[in-house]
Amino acid sequence: MTRDEIRSLVLRELGRIAPEADLSALPESAPLREELEIDSMDLLNFATAIHAALGVDIPEADYERIASLGGCVDYLAARLAR
């Protein structure tokens, strides 16, 4: 899976959580929590969706590494390359 594919998948799942947000304007490094008003339940749902789509189970300890769009894509790319 390419980085771009991962990115579009992440954006798709974020779009499900925050349907009203303009994701095309989402800054790469901004904290998703503040940017999209994501709470812990949203984050859990996001992690669940990523797990279902990519088979990557993001442990709670790694949550801070997926705190931004760029960080999240990097993290998933690294996990998938393993």
Partner: protein, 417 residues
Amino acid sequence: MPSLGADMDSGTLLEWRVSPGDRVARGQIVALVDTEKAEIEIECWQAGVVERLIAEVGQKLPVGAPLAWLREEGEAAATAKPAPAPPAVAPAATAVRPAPPVSVAPRAPDVRPPPPPPSPLRVAVGESRRVHASPLARRLAKERGVDLASLAGSGPGGAVVAEDVQRAAGARQPAERVLAVAPTAPAEAAAAAPRDRREGMRRAIAASMAKSKREIPHYYLETSIDCGHALEWLRARNESRPVSERVLPVALLLAATAKALRRAPELNGFFVDGAFRPGSGIHLGVAVSLRGGGLVAPALRGADLRSLDELMCGLRELTQRAREGRMRSSEFSDATLTVTSLGDLGVDRVFPVIYPPQVAIVGFGRIAEAPWAERGMLAVRPIVRCTLAADHRVSDGMRGARFLAELARLLARPEEL
């Protein structure tokens, strides 16, 4: 006829505040409706011109039945006008058609406002009355010159109801009153149904909270709870589970609240008609904020009987459905205490306002590291500030303090939750 509460299935039109041809603004009060509990002023949710009044004063209509036709600004009058059928002219009592199917305005909006029915806006509280009579009966009696005291009431507790007055007045209506009944019910007739649900929700929250602040003598208590052990226990537990089975700290807080309530029945229930009614079961209302504003607090029923995993599962489902606007009516009817957790937003503590007719509300701030002194030692621990707002008509600070102490005790032993 808008739904003015989960338990309302019909309402009686008491009064029109507008006439055909009137221009109405959004939010303007257009009618007064009597539900079983109170007279409620009905706002119009759309600007426009009143084309025609359909409902007749004194008429009882199911929720969803059209009350009037409203022509929107710019809409050609012709589209709202029915075919030039001769208006049915008849005494009102017989001109009343069966209410059209409730399809015009949905009976249950997708997102229901969280609180119980808006406060009785016009009920005179504590007014001494010689005769026990419903507001509608009173009004009809006045209109038709019937002496209420001379009537034998057939309502609950011998109360005089509208039918009694009508019977006494010979069910006469002023002969000059002419009603043109619409031959068809146009879709535009949904004037009285809130089009903008967010607006409706804001109004419902406002009505409920204003009633709470007006009527409930709140007292507030706060306690700081060390969540160190609970979080460590939860972290280890989650580590060995797939993401779909993980439990969030908020579920622990809910579990502890529910179980602590078992020993604090005065905080769990409703204040209705001047008296406390304990809840049958512990149904935690969970405040769920909606994207784009607004708030619902559907109930996790039987919360104290659920395992931690069951609670988490219920919470997940509830949150999702609340945010998608798919609530169940049962969830709105009977939360016995509400829990609000704003920790995700980074606030330290919440000063919650009780949802009437409930008698207490529990608030949790964020779980954050703080200096914590214990047994002569200073440490940095994850602390949550738990607040309780409770109704002084039902309980006292001592009782509330015991509840919070019990909650803290339970959180210190998460294995038992």
